[in-house]
């Protein structure tokens, strides 16, 4: 199995050495990136002004911004953010706690990996939202149910990336570890885990984005409190600008989690020579 996502992990890290020339180029890149955002906002504004959609279905960027700034002062808003975040993080945490060790162990034993492959491939292709009615029935409409669904959606990318990482311990290192009689537990914590960390981090990043997505999805489909719930509520009450404020917040959360895991990755992988990060 190859992971196309692997390649993407390195390119996002900025080169460490930044001369004045590269700094200038970076400033220009930032300017272009900002320009893109402004262009999309202008387009959005133009569409709302054109009257193609009613203000209740597509509010203007200005009204969304005003509502969003209002939301920042409302305890209800922060409660919703917290509900979503907690559901996502608890599920993600458990997915990591289960997926990483299980992936590492099965990754080091070819037999375990081969025999579990069909089952894992099937389970991970399963649309987790389709299972929602079952979970509602079994666990009821509870925050724990939300975390469980998040867990199921997140555990497979983490598990598979950990397994992939564990298999990619260089043969020379395995040989060294054997020659120096490193005990099994130490081999996992000090050799297999660090060697698999780049791969695991890719899985965690995928899973982190998924966790927010699934948490909000569950809130929209059930009555559980959170950002998703607020979005449907306000949409139904005709406050679409507020609903968009929440949608924007969900986007920010996803972006924030992604940036956060990139930061964590660069901290965990600081042992790498600079050539790797360019």
């Amino acid at each position: 199995m190859t992971t196309p996502v692997q390649a993407a992990t390195t390119e996002v890290l900025e080169p460490a050495a930044a001369g004045s020339k590269t700094r200038g180029r970076r400033a220009r890149v930032h300017a272009y990136q900002l320009l893109c955002v402004v262009l999309v906002l202008l387009l959005w504004g133009a569409v709302t002004v054109s009257g193609l959609f009613t203000a209740s279905s597509l509010p203007s960027p200005a009204s969304v911004a005003t509502e969003w700034l209002h939301l920042l002062g409302a305890p209800v808003f922060w409660q919703a953010v917290w509900d979503t975040l907690r559901g996502a993080l608890v599920g993600l945490l458990f997915a990591g706690a289960v997926g990483v060790p299980l992936g590492l162990v099965t990754g080091t034993y070819a037999a375990a990996e081969l025999s579990s492959r069909i089952l894992v491939d099937f389970l991970r292709s399963f649309p987790v939202i389709a299972l929602l009615p079952v979970f509602l029935l079994v666990l009821g409409s509870t925050p724990e149910m939300k975390s469980t669904v998040v867990f199921i959606a997140c555990v497979f990318p983490i598990f598979l990336q950990a397994q992939y990482g564990a298999r990619s311990v260089p043969p020379m290192i395995s040989e060294t570890v054997r020659a120096y009689r490193i005990p099994r537990l130490l081999r996992y914590t000090k050799v297999v885990l660090p060697s698999a960390t780049p791969s695991i981090m890719t899985g965690l990043r995928l899973a982190a984005t998924t966790s927010i997505l699934v948490a909000i999805g569950v809130e929209i489909l059930t009555t559980l409190p959170g950002i998703g719930h607020e979005v449907t509520q306000h949409q139904q009450n005709g406050n679409s600008a507020v609903a968009f404020g929440y949608i924007f917040t969900a986007g920010l959360l996803g972006y924030g989690i992604n940036r956060g895991s990139m930061l964590l990755e660069s901290i965990l992988l600081r042992w790498r020579p600079p050539a790797h990060t360019v």
């Binding site: 020379m172 290192i173 060294t176 020659a179 120096y180 005990p183 130490l186 660090p194 042992w271």
Partner: protein
């Protein structure tokens, strides 16, 4: 474990190793006395690395046996440390140099402070004091190989097995590393076995040179290097005796018969194992 158990001859009897139908080593016999410096030399592809992996217990022989004293070497032993040719691949890139050196001790349950002290001591012994906090990639190739040697020393083994240890470093670093290993052997009284394709290196380092040859490979010559314990890069290599020994080894590797040796027979061990 008593000292007599720790210091024991490493002996190979009737060793055969094949990969599928391809025989690499056949009927190979040799014995390495404790405290001696033995170089195993042979052309590329002669099965030197296969032999070393059998000696270290990393590879099981197809038939025959490797024994350390009276114990079979069917898995890596605590008495044998290995230094691989590929130092880049064998140091753990995510560990600092000190942790790399101390890692085998961690497996033995040595305390953190004792590990640290031992690692620093061994790094100093290989001429690398003060690099403990660096990562391996921050060091040159020669320095990385010193770190790998320090790790072997920290393991506190009686035997240091080295596979083409100086093959991938530049010439000057290579001379320094050769002298380093000679000095370590003299200071610590350890047994050193070096596998190499470099005849000059084998003669310069060894008390004994074992020549591998043939397809499948076996021991085709086994000679004592009577150059004394004190050797140096400039004078030892200029000795007429050095030239004679290297000529003899080269002749054997090229497939010639053992050249008549002008040295008194008493000093020579020409018996074929």
């Amino acid at each position: 474990m008593s000292d007599s158990d720790r210091l024991a001859p490493l002996s190979v009897t009737g060793l055969h190793k094949s990969y599928g139908h391809h025989a690499v080593l056949a009927d190979l016999n040799l014995s390495v006395e404790p405290g001696s410096f033995v170089c195993i030399v042979g052309p590329s592809g002669a099965g030197k690395t296969t032999l070393l992996r059998c000696l270290s217990g990393l590879l099981a022989p197809t038939s025959g046996s490797v024994r350390y004293g009276d114990r079979p070497v069917n898995q890596p032993l605590a008495e044998i440390a290995v230094v691989f040719q590929d130092y880049r691949g064998s140091l753990l890139p995510w560990m600092r140099v000190r942790d790399n050196v101390a890692f085998p001790l961690e497996g033995r349950g040595v305390s953190r402070s004792a590990r640290r002290a031992r690692a620093d001591e061994c790094l100093a012994a290989v001429g690398l004091p003060g690099v403990g906090d660096k990562y391996p990639w921050q060091l040159s190739g020669g320095m990385q190989q010193r770190v790998a040697i320090a790790r072997g020393l920290a393991y506190d083994a009686a035997v240091l097995l080295m596979d083409e240890p100086f093959g991938s470093v530049d010439a000057q670093a290579r001379f320094d590393l050769e002298d380093l290993v000679l000095r370590l052997r003299r200071d610590l009284g350890i047994t050193v076995i070096v596998v190499t394709h470099d005849i000059d290196e084998a003669v310069y380092l060894g008390d004994r040179v074992i020549v591998l040859g043939g397809q499948p490979a076996t021991v085709i010559d086994n000679l004592t290097v009577d150059l004394g314990q004190d050797r140096d890069q400039i004078h030892t290599r200029a000795l007429p005796r050095f030239a004679e020994l290297r000529t003899r080894v080269l002749t054997r590797i090229r497939g010639g018969a053992a050249a008549p040796d002008p040295a008194p027979p008493a000093q020579l061990d020409v018996s074929r194992t």
